[in-house]
């Protein structure tokens, strides 16, 4: 934003009179040395119960107050490291997994962590059956059978699965928030009406994490307090204070003044505006969301491979990423985000109008027209306009149908769109989460209502469906990664999906802040290593 200083004086003349009465006392622009103050939009939080939390902001809290059997380490990206289990193994048949629990780890209550707590936590998440329960249900667990499938004896936890899945599939799913280990005694002591402590965990924590939830006020903020004796080593900062500040301009002002340490909702414009300020810096990471354009194959034209190919060459991916999306998106042309097992790193497509024109001529489609559904958010509308412009240059007329998100989702789920500009976020850090959505479709009939992305676009993936089903059962990790790479190669050259971007996170922080991890594409934020 540019302000004319003359104008700003003019608008504030009247205020000056009111403000002379304010003493500049208590206006220290500095956060306490032992406290990290973060500004973010946290109104997405539904619950802080790890069995229910399923939104970005909620999972950030869960990641710092609880741990799982297997963990992701912010210092070792992409590696699975022992969490509350010190080792694990799978039997010959591939359906029985055993986990040996670490000794000497305690919950914030002081209770020791046992295999019994671990079994209870997984059983509880399945029985609660909240949003993220499906991540665990994929292994054949149900409220009825989970007590037999998940059992504890001594220091050993045994998990049985209904089929011999790829072990990495189970391990990856166990790193997600829903598989966090809770303190059985504390949780059950706070049970109300058979809710297994769910209501109490909305604003209390009972985990092994570096921090304890001290207070939570929906739409206002939360306060975390470090506990001593964390198994990874005590957190460096005593408190983490999160303030719900949705407005980017407000965040930037607070950050530049030093009233907050970290700002997580800055726009490319804000980042650019802070460029000359030595007191602040910007950290660039990628997140897990991918952005794509997809075409409904109920429209015959979108089954024409030449035409689909023409459109892939008629998008200015790099141009968008270098201008209005700068830092907020990076070009990424396959459905597994960078950071995932089997993700593709290369981006074969770029803007080539002549090539697109030639392909349209070959396709035999005359005067092509695309009606594109777009959500009414500024970045998506800009993306859509860029596509409209380059498609136009290639001879494809684009009509934009701009609407509210939930309304557009309804149309999309009912297969009523012609083309749609959408994003998709992975649900758990395993490739199957996106592969099952983009390249599996068991039944392409209108009444199948599976809700998968392939189905929504009336796309029959053919052999890709079985390949994806096989990949989730492949027990050799390297081989499994190669299978996903192959599936995506075919998918991005034949399907009605044009994958364009992976989301970028730009975190603004004070110059002295070190070791803040956003969690990248696979994990949530980690606060315990931060120093300032």
């Amino acid at each position: 934003m540019m302000f004319d200083p003359k104008l700003s004086r003019f608008g504030s003349v009247a205020l000056a009179a009111l403000l002379v009465t304010v003493s500049p006392a208590a206006l220290m622009a500095e956060t306490p040395a032992d406290t990290l103050v973060i500004a973010d939009a946290i109104d997405d939080i539904v619950s802080l119960d790890p069995g229910e939390a399923y939104e970005f902001s909620g999972l950030d809290v869960v990641n710092n107050t609880y741990d799982g059997l297997i963990e992701l380490d912010p210092m070792k990206v992409g590696e699975l490291v022992p969490g509350l289990a010190e080792s694990w193994a799978v039997d010959e048949a591939g359906t029985t997994f055993t986990f040996k629990m670490k000794a000497g780890v305690t919950f914030s209550s002081g209770n020791p962590v046992t295999a019994e707590d671990a079994a209870f936590s997984l059983q509880r998440a399945v029985k609660l059956n909240k949003s993220p329960a499906f991540i665990l249900n994929q292994f054949g667990w149900t409220a009825e059978n989970v007590d037999q499938m998940v059992t504890a004896e001594g220091d050993t936890l045994t998990l049985k699965t209904d089929q011999a899945y790829a072990p990495t599939f189970l391990y990856n799913c166990l790193t997600s928030g829903v598989a966090s280990i809770v303190d059985k005694a504390t949780v059950m002591a706070n049970e109300v009406d058979g809710d297994m402590g769910n209501a109490w965990l909305h604003n209390n924590s009972a985990g092994t994490g570096a921090y304890v939830l001290k207070s939570f006020k929906p739409n206002e903020g939360y306060l975390l307090e470090a506990r001593s004796g964390y198994w990874r080593g005590d957190a460096k900062l005593k408190n983490v204070f999160m303030r719900h500040i949705p407005e980017a301009a407000t965040q930037r002002l607070l950050l530049e003044k030093g009233d907050i340490d970290i700002a997580r909702e800055l726009t490319p414009t804000d980042i650019e505006g802070m460029a000359g300020n030595a007191d602040v810096k910007v950290q660039q990471d990628v997140g897990g969301q991918v952005f794509y354009l997809s075409f409904n194959q109920k429209n015959e034209a979108y089954k024409n491979e030449k035409f689909l190919d023409a459109m892939r060459w008629a998008i200015d991916y790099q141009g968008m990423a270098d201008t209005f999306l700068k830092g907020a998106m990076v070009v990424h042309q396959a459905y597994l985000p960078k950071g995932y097992l089997g993700a593709l790193e290369d981006n074969p497509y770029s803007l080539d109008i002549e090539k697109a024109k030639a392909l349209i001529a070959e396709s035999g489609i005359t005067s092509p027209k695309v009606v594109m559904d777009v959500r009414n958010s500024s970045d998506r509308m800009e993306m859509a306009q860029s596509i409209q412009n380059t498609f136009g240059q290639a001879g494809i007329e684009v009509e934009l149908n701009i609407g509210e998100g939930a309304e557009q989702l309804k149309r999309y789920r009912a297969r009523q769109h012609d083309a749609t500009l959408q994003s998709w976020g992975p649900d758990y850090p395993d490739p199957h989460t996106n592969a099952s959505a983009f390249s599996m479709n068991a039944d392409n009939a209108d009444d199948a209502q599976t809700g998968g992305l392939a189905w929504r676009n009336a796309y029959d993936p053919g052999p890709l469906h079985q390949m994806t089903a096989d990949a989730v059962m492949e027990r050799d990790g390297a081989k499994r990664a190669a299978m996903y790479a192959e599936i995506q190669q075919t998918h991005r050259t034949t399907s009605p999906f044009v994958l364009m971007f992976q989301i970028g996170y730009q975190t603004g922080m004070r110059a002295g802040v070190e070791n803040f991890f956003t969690g990248g594409a696979t994990d949530s934020a980690a606060y315990w290593a931060i120093t300032k």
Binding site: S8, G11, S12, L27, N219, I245, T250, K257, D259, G451
Partner: protein
């Protein structure tokens, strides 16, 4: 023969008032409920998210009672509301009554302070302009009023923050307190009213009190300025109208001092319509000014209701609206009382 009413006129007034209160609230609920239903947002989709199967969507619809006929949904809601149960927020599961109790004091504090500023600055300015029509003072008052009337508060708020907080550092930034106090506030200050100024004063925490003042002064000053613009314009026109009356001329001829003519004699009659003006502007501020709350990260009712509306969290929207409605009714009562006090004809 007239039926004699067994209770006095005072009781009749109370009954009449209670009936109108119930009807007002009922009407308010009905309108909000209908609006909530025509908004093209599906709360079910908002809750279950992208991944849900058709079965999950249906189950959620049933769990929320959205499968029942609209009329039935409405009456279930009203029945619970009159028992003080406004339901739980769809999104956060927090009881709406608790959420509103957290957000309303922030708005009340801001709106009250803004209204006080608006009255203290607006009434004298309006009188000044009315007694010297066409003078420099009159022009200045009108210009300042026009500016407050026509400039977007959102923009003024940003400018104000940039200048007074960003560059000059005279006032606290967005939020109700600095982070260091904000963290301690819940644990160290008993929350008697939810209004930080009152609670910190009662607890004798003057360091926190002055910090809170530094944070509220800018948004309250801005909203006060907007309210002053309106109050001064109305005061000016009421006063000019009053000063042209015969009884004023008579008083002047009798040699009453001019200040007394204006501030006592005329003011008595100006006060009556002015009460309505002030009450209206106060009521408007009590709805919570969403844009101001957004810019100043002020956790008030306006932004709470708006956020809830965005995700079709109807219990939260309805609950917030009911509280705003109640505040309106309460304001009406107070202005009625004040009328009786100042208007000789009403006594």
């Amino acid at each position: 023969m007239a039926v004699s009413f067994p209770f006095g006129p005072r009781f009749k007034a109370v009954v009449g008032f209670s009936v109108s209160l119930v009807i007002t609230i009922f009407g308010l609920l009905l309108v909000t409920f209908i609006i909530g239903r025509v908004v093209p947002i599906d709360p079910v989709l908002a809750i279950v998210g992208e991944r849900a199967t058709q079965a999950q969507i249906e189950a959620t619809r049933v769990a929320l009672g959205l499968d029942k006929p609209l009329v039935e949904q409405f009456f279930i809601y009203v029945f619970n509301a009159f028992q003080g149960d406004l339901g739980a927020s769809i999104r956060t599961g927090e009881p709406v009554i608790e959420a509103v109790a957290r957000h309303f004091p922030a708005t009340l504090e801001l709106a009250t302070l803004a209204t006080i500023i608006g009255v203290i600055a607006g009434v004298p300015a309006g009188v000044l302009a009315a007694t010297r029509p066409g003078s420099i003072a009159d022009h200045i008052v009108r210009l300042v009023g026009l500016m407050g009337y026509s400039m977007p508060v959102f923009w003024l708020g940003l400018i104000g923050l940039l200048v007074f907080y960003g560059h000059l550092g005279w006032v606290g930034g967005p939020g109700r307190l600095d982070a260091v106090y904000d963290m301690m506030y819940d644990f160290e200050v008993p929350q008697r009213s939810g209004m930080i100024l009152i609670d910190t004063a009662l607890a004798g925490r003057w360091d926190m009190f002055s910090n809170a003042i530094s944070h509220i002064i800018l948004p309250a000053g801005l909203l006060g300025y907007v309210s002053m613009a309106y109050i001064s314009r109305m005061t000016r026109s009421f006063m000019m109208n009053e000063l042209s009356q015969e009884y004023i001329t008579t008083a002047r001829v009798k040699g009453m001092p001019e200040w007394r003519v204006v501030w006592v004699h005329a003011m008595k009659n100006v006060a009556v319509p002015l009460i309505t003006v002030v009450a209206l502007s106060y009521a408007y501020l009590l709805e919570g000014s969403v844009l101001t709350e957004t810019i100043f990260a002020w956790p008030g009712l306006g932004s709470y209701i708006t956020d809830a509306l965005m995700v079709a969290d109807m219990p939260a929207v309805l609950g917030g609206t009911v509280v705003v409605g109640l505040a309106f009714v309460a304001l009406n009562m107070v202005s009625d009382l004040l009328y009786r006090l100042v208007d000789p004809r009403a006594r």
